[in-house]
Assembly symmetry: C2
Homo-oligomer: 232 residues x 2
């Protein structure tokens, strides 16, 4: 990991991301990041004012990956940036596409996902990383372009973000109790649940461990949008 190349914020965040991806959030410490870069701990502080800031750097990375995933598609930022083209894709499709992309990016970095939920508790909206703000701005722009009123815009904005976030968190929740066990039910530790008290949990068993996947996510987005969009 020692690299004679100069330190940069990118490299620091990159090292942090590698560590979190590989060892989980608990494995992330300033000392560990420094080691990964072959540098003394305090050197990092020239590129990030604090560990909290570094965490935001991780979140930003996720959103940058999101942008990369969408750019080039008809749902990328350009489609928004370009003046009010009439040939912009239908906004519902765009919302679904963004939700799907977010899902993929988050599942690609499952250990970072908790931060998507956590950081907003600490960091006020207007202080969130630029890439995050850009995502919000794009979403709002699309809704406004669609001719939705302010009320509907805010409702759908809230609904879509809530749904995507909650869905991702739910998909990533831990269900494996004993990783060495091949039998799904034992693997989940279902035998630990008293049958008397938890018959359904046991009956549904491994079905609880199955992911919903992108399709269900998409279905939810459209259901919510249809509910909160005005009944044109």
């Amino acid at each position: 990991m020692a690299d004679r190349a100069r330190l940069t914020r990118e490299r620091v965040v990159g090292a942090a991301l590698r560590i979190v991806d590989g060892e989980g959030l608990d494995g992330l410490s300033m000392r560990r990041v420094a080691e990964e870069l072959g540098v003394e701990t305090m050197a990092l502080y020239r590129y990030t004012p604090s560990k909290d800031d570094l965490l935001d750097g991780l979140v930003e990375r996720i959103f940058i990956e999101l942008e990369e995933n969408l750019s080039g598609t008809p749902f990328g930022a350009e489609a928004v940036a370009g003046a009010g083209d009439e040939d912009a894709p239908p906004w519902r499709e765009a919302l679904v596409a963004v939700a799907r992309a977010m899902y993929r990016v988050a599942l690609a970095h499952p250990n970072v996902a908790p931060l998507l939920a956590l950081r907003p508790f600490t960091v006020p909206l207007t202080r969130r990383p630029p890439a995050v703000l850009r995502a919000h701005e794009r979403l709002l722009t699309r809704l406004e372009r669609a001719g939705l009123g302010e009320r509907a815009t805010l409702d759908i904005y809230r609904a879509v973000i809530s749904w995507v976030l909650g869905y991702i968190l739910f998909e990533l929740r831990e269900v494996v109790d004993n990783p060495d066990e091949p039998e799904p039910a034992f693997r989940m530790g279902l035998h630990r649940l008293p049958v008397k008290e938890f018959p359904r949990l046991r009956a549904l068993g491994p079905g609880l461990a199955v992911r919903g996947g992108e399709e269900q996510l998409a279905a939810g987005v459209t259901a919510l949008v249809d509910r909160f969009a005005p009944p044109t």
Copy 2:
């Protein structure tokens, strides 16, 4: 805070909850809890094996409050526990009622809410606190009682939990940048956003800080349920 009464797990968790409610999650340390109870730090370890366990204790408290909120109403556990009564309330109403109750309880302890999202990443499903498992069991029971197939049961289970969780997190995200500022826009720090880059965020401004409230939460639940329930 020194209290000559004997220590118990309830008292330890209770003290932790007071601290988190009052000072935030960051204010919670084993030493601080001990101080709150007028006791030495290590005394706590006779009642909780670790701080992580204590965090789960906080989550459990939330779910116990949830149960208290619902008990007595037609949506409480009894309605589920009683054998297949035909007079059980319509299951959709029950889901909405549970969602609303969860919302109220979570907003009553905003500082604990992050744990609702976080703990499941660490604690495997079958090791979650009993009150949490009971909530899952009740939900699954209701869906099964409604005659939904396994597939629909799992889909709705996932959808409702995801939505409620995501919605709560979204409602509780920080939007205040400068608490001392009375003017809403400045209070949010909107002036910090470049107009060129973030016109919508600025235009919608304080509308972004407005809560969706219980009604929107309920609307989302029904929208999702209708979408994922079979088209009877």
